[in-house]
Each structure stands twice: as structure tokens, then as C-alpha cells.
């Protein structure tokens, strides 16, 4: 039943990984700081760049988990 539902484009709990992406990206107080620096780059910049890569991995995870 759950599998059939999934195949018909229903909800999957894996989609919560998308919610995580949204919440972090859209909550500036979380990353609007200079420290800690990484090779001279303030946190604000390197964290958001790193978050792109994390999100790509999260999306790939959802892809593999929900693809049949």
C-alpha cells in the first residue's frame, strides 16, 4: 500500500529533508556572523556555500530513497 502510494506521487517522509533545506537557508540569524573564519572567509559566506553542497547531497538522498 505505502509503496503503491509512493509510486503515485504521494507523500514520503524523506521529503522532510527538503524542509530542513528550506528552514536553514531562510533563517539568516543562523548564519549571519563573521566567526569562525575558514581560510580567511567569514562564516556567513563559507557556511552558505557549504550548505549548497549539503543540500545537493540531501536531495540526492531523497532521489535514491524514493526512486524505484
Amino acid at each position: 500500500m505505502t509503496e503503491a502510494k509512493l509510486k503515485r506521487g504521494g507523500w514520503s517522509w524523506w521529503y522532510l529533508l527538503f524542509v530542513v533545506q528550506f528552514l536553514v537557508a531562510l533563517w539568516p540569524p543562523f548564519y549571519n556572523k563573521a566567526e569562525p573564519h575558514l581560510i580567511g572567509i567569514p562564516f556567513f559566506y563559507w557556511f552558505q556555500l557549504a550548505w549548497i553542497l549539503v543540500c545537493a547531497v540531501l536531495t540526492a538522498t531523497v532521489y535514491w530513497a524514493t526512486d524505484d
Binding site: 556567513f44 552558505q48 543540500c55
Partner: protein
């Protein structure tokens, strides 16, 4: 302007010539009958994961983006980085919502958002509203791509004043128009591959070489004024810069895939699986865009804007000259040629896709709906080809005779207009609950209020919404699309009672996902 940079110009012209040839040759790539609209306008829906990656990447991350985002970082600082959360949250939307749209469009032979809305809601006036919004929002976007070409041509030292000075732009545009006409979407798809490789080379070189020349990232960020380095922490009773940053990211993300050129690129994919894979692979471009945004700070650290050699360029193109000036200052002429070609060719790809998308919209949802109801396949494809020329001509005239700042302001308004199609298109992908007339009223009010708010703030993209003693500065598009959705929801029961529940919906629930066994 400075003297002509011959070495850079030669490399630039060689690469430009190569992609022009490629654009024409593309007609024979994965050959199809170009007298059919879905062959000309969607490349036959035949692109797999890899080509889709290049095509969507080349389409969304435009030349103008690569010039404007660093220019904003240079001028305004940290706020420019909203492009990063923006490009983070578009991919879950692609994965979930636009996958459904891909399936239903594939199943029903839809080519545009207007086609989908027409089929889903059975209301041609709502489809017309979606169509007109798409075309009107796309026109200034095409014009902005030309600004990208203009800036690099200017930076190469070519061109002077008056119409004669615009001759290089005119030639570039004629070539673009000709290969789009003859090859359709196959042209930008093949050119996108070349363009993206060049852009990646440029971005990687810039992010390694320039910091080394300037003494490391520590020194670069030390040169950035403190108030530009981070978002200003909000004061009391306001969400301040945080609200602006988050809503700019959210609103831009929600609007992005509603743009006709985005949907055209998505629909040209050969499978829903190619779309989902790309949701995980396309962030590669976001990462590069984030790196390129840092170039704005490199410009500050290198002090390029104070060098007399670039004064004329900054005067003519404003902050948009920041990146070209930095590249000229940091790289040998031959590499400048490659980098500028990346930007110039980077303008051709989206400009071609945008004009194809606008042509598809006109042909399907205006001409076929209101003028000639039963065109032959050949007539339909021919019609679209001519309209694609007309659209580009319009953009060219615009950029030659109207100051650039109006194109930028119109593009900004375009985002506010485009997002008003969200209830019909994105919510429509999930539910047929809304009444078409209620959606139309929501669209009209959202468009009107959004435009008024933008004019009231002197065409800023954020509006300081006041509730009691609190102020919430935020992207106008987000505020007005909320109004739009609420209005459509409230009016739906009322419209159902007045006009009768209109059940016309030619799509079925099974159209929105992979067919079993497929």
C-alpha cells in the same frame, strides 16, 4: 573607452564564431521534424539527464546573473548573497512540483504553462492571463541578456558612441536570431554545453588566481567595509535586513520556474527521472554562482574601481562593469578573451530559450486560441519561428533606444508579475479545488497591488510592510502572492455559487506521476 584589446578580441571572436556554427549545425542533432512545434520549441522532448543539466544550467544562470550578482556584492555587500539561499530552495521545488508538471505536460502534449492551465481549469481567459504575464515578464529579461553582451563588447574596447557603436551587438543578435529560427531549442542546448564549460573554467580560475594575487581571502575580506560584510542586525520592532534577505530568496525561488524559459527547458527533458536527478546535480551551478558573487569583494580589494583605466567603463555601465574590469586587471589578454566569451555566449543561450518560450506561448495560447483555431503542424511551427524573431527584435529595439535602467526595473517588476501565476500553475499541479474566475481575480489584484507597491517604493524590490508598530521589510512578490492566494481561496466558494462549479478538467490524477510499468 580604452584601446581595442586585440588578443582578447580574437579569442572572443573565434569562440563566438564556433558557437554560431554550432547553433546552425544543431538542427541536425537528434534530428526531428522541425515543422512540428514540440520539435522546434522543445527539442522533441528528447534531452537526457546530462543535456538537461547543461540546458537548464545555461538557461537559469544567465550572463546577466554573472555580471549583476557580483556587481550587487560590490555595491551593496552581503545582501547580494541572497542568490545562494535562493538557488538552494529552487531544487526541492523542481523535484516535487515541477516533476508533476513535467508528467502532465508530457502526457497531454502541453508545451506551455498556458496549455496546462487551459487544460486543467478549462478557462481560456485564465490561460490568457498566464500567457500574457509570461510574455511581458520575459521581454525585459531578454533585453537584460543584451546588456551582458554590451558590457563585454565595451570592455574589449570595441564600439563607440551612437548607433554605429552598437554594430557588434547588432551582429551578435542577428546571428542569434538566425540560428534560433532555423534550429529551435536544439541550438541553445548545444551551445549551452560550450558556454557552461567556459563559465566553469573562468569561475575556477578567478577563484584561485585572483585571491592568490591579492594575498589571500583574509586580506580580501579585511578590505571590505564592515557594514557590507554582514547583514545589518535588525533593530527593535522590525525584521530588518533578515526579512528582506529571506523573502528575496523565497520569492525569487518561487517565481523562477514559473518563467516561461524555465518551463521550456524543464519540459524538453526526456523523463521525469532526468528532472529529479537534475534537482541534485544543478546545485553545481549554484555553488559556482556563490563563488562568483565573491568576485564583488575581489573588486573592492583590488581597488579596480579607482584605476583610471576603467573609469570610462564604470561611468558607462555602472557597477555592471565591476567583473569585466576585474578580469581585465587580473588575467592575461588571451584568458580575458575566454572569460568574456563565456559571458557573451552565456547571454545567447538564455536569450534564445526565452524567445522560443515566448514564441511557444503566443503560438499556442493566443494565436491558436483566439485567431486560428485549427492550424496545421507546419503553420504552428512556422508561426512560432516568426514570433521568436519578433520577440528578439523587440528586445533589441528596447536596449538600443531605452536606457538600461528601465530594462532592469522592468525585469524587477517582471518577478512580481510572474509569481502571480503561482496559484494557477504550481497549486494547480496539486489541486483543481480553486475556481478559475477566483484565480483570475487573485492574479489581477496581485499584479495590480504588486505594481503599485513597487512604484510606491520607487522601484525598490522590497516593501516595508507596517503592522501596528512593527515593520516587515520584504520582497513585494512574496507579500502580493500571499494576497493573491488568500483572495483566490476566499473567492472560490463564492464564484462556485455564482458561476456554478465548473468541472472542466481534461487532466486525470494519473497524469501527474509516472505511469505504472513505464
Amino acid at each position: 573607452m580604452a584601446d581595442v584589446n586585440w588578443v582578447a578580441l580574437s579569442v572572443f571572436l573565434a569562440l563566438f564564431g564556433f558557437v554560431s556554427w554550432l547553433g546552425f549545425a544543431a538542427a541536425r542533432w537528434r534530428k526531428g521534424d522541425l515543422d512540428q512545434l514540440h520539435e522546434w520549441g522543445l527539442g522533441g522532448r528528447r534531452f537526457g539527464t546530462v543535456v538537461t543539466w547543461f540546458l537548464v544550467g545555461g538557461d537559469l544562470y544567465t550572463a546577466y546573473t554573472f555580471i549583476a550578482v557580483p556587481a550587487l556584492a560590490f555595491g551593496a555587500g552581503a545582501i547580494a548573497f541572497f542568490a545562494v539561499p535562493y538557488t538552494v530552495i529552487i531544487y526541492p521545488l523542481l523535484f516535487l512540483v515541477f516533476r508533476r508538471l513535467w508528467y502532465v505536460c508530457h502526457k497531454r502534449g502541453y508545451i506551455t504553462a498556458g496549455d496546462f492551465v487551459r487544460g486543467r481549469f478549462g478557462n481560456r481567459w485564465l490561460a490568457l492571463a498566464i500567457t500574457v504575464t509570461g510574455i511581458v515578464a520575459t521581454m525585459p529579461y531578454i533585453a537584460l541578456q543584451l546588456v551582458g553582451i554590451q558590457v563585454v563588447i565595451g570592455a574589449l574596447g570595441v564600439g563607440g558612441s551612437g548607433l554605429f557603436g552598437e554594430l557588434p551587438l547588432l551582429i551578435a543578435f542577428l546571428v542569434l536570431a538566425a540560428f534560433t529560427y532555423s534550429s529551435g531549442l536544439r541550438a541553445p542546448a548545444s551551445i549551452a554545453i560550450v558556454k557552461d564549460v567556459l563559465i566553469y573554467i573562468t569561475a575556477i580560475a578567478a577563484i584561485i588566481v585572483i585571491p592568490a594575487e591579492l594575498g589571500g581571502f583574509g586580506k580580501i575580506f579585511a578590505a571590505v567595509p564592515a557594514q557590507k560584510l554582514l547583514l545589518a542586525a535588525p533593530g527593535e520592532h522590525t525584521t530588518g535586513a533578515y526579512g528582506s534577505y529571506a523573502t528575496l530568496a523565497l520569492g525569487s525561488a518561487l517565481a523562477l520556474f514559473l518563467y516561461p524559459h524555465s518551463l521550456t527547458a524543464i519540459l524538453s527533458a526526456s523523463s521525469g527521472r532526468a528532472i529529479r536527478r537534475n534537482a541534485a546535480l544543478l546545485p553545481g551551478y549554484s555553488f559556482m554562482l556563490g563563488l562568483l558573487a565573491l568576485l564583488g569583494f575581489f573588486v573592492i580589494a583590488a581597488g579596480v574601481h579607482d584605476l583610471p583605466a576603467y573609469a570610462a567603463g564604470f561611468k558607462k555601465f555602472g557597477n555592471n562593469f565591476a567583473v569585466p574590469a576585474l578580469l581585465l586587471q587580473s588575467f592575461p589578454p588571451w584568458f580575458v578573451g575566454i572569460a568574456f566569451a563565456a559571458i557573451g555566449i552565456g547571454a545567447l543561450v538564455p536569450a534564445a530559450i526565452m524567445s522560443i518560450a515566448a514564441a511557444n506561448l503566443y503560438t499556442r495560447n493566443i494565436h491558436r486560441e483566439f485567431i486560428n483555431k485549427n492550424p496545421t503542424d507546419k503553420q504552428e511551427a512556422q508561426n512560432a519561428k516568426w514570433v521568436s524573431l519578433l520577440v528578439k527584435l523587440g528586445a533589441l529595439v528596447f536596449i538600443l533606444f531605452v536606457p538600461t535602467k528601465y530594462a532592469i526595473q522592468l525585469q524587477l517588476l517582471g518577478g512580481i508579475w510572474m509569481i502571480q501565476t503561482l496559484p494557477a500553475v504550481m497549486l494547480g499541479a496539486y489541486t483543481r479545488w480553486f475556481n478559475a474566475w477566483a484565480l483570475l481575480v487573485g492574479w489581477a489584484v496581485g499584479t495590480f497591488v504588486g505594481t503599485s507597491m513597487a512604484i510606491a517604493t520607487n522601484l525598490q524590490n522590497t516593501y516595508p510592510l507596517s503592522i501596528g508598530s512593527y515593520t516587515f521589510p520584504g520582497y513585494t512578490a512574496v507579500y502580493t502572492v500571499v494576497l493573491n492566494v488568500v483572495l483566490a481561496a476566499v473567492l472560490t466558494p463564492i464564484c462556485n455559487r455564482l458561476a456554478g462549479r465548473d468541472q472542466a478538467d481534461e487532466t486525470r490524477a494519473s497524469d501527474y506521476h509516472e505511469a505504472p510499468g513505464a
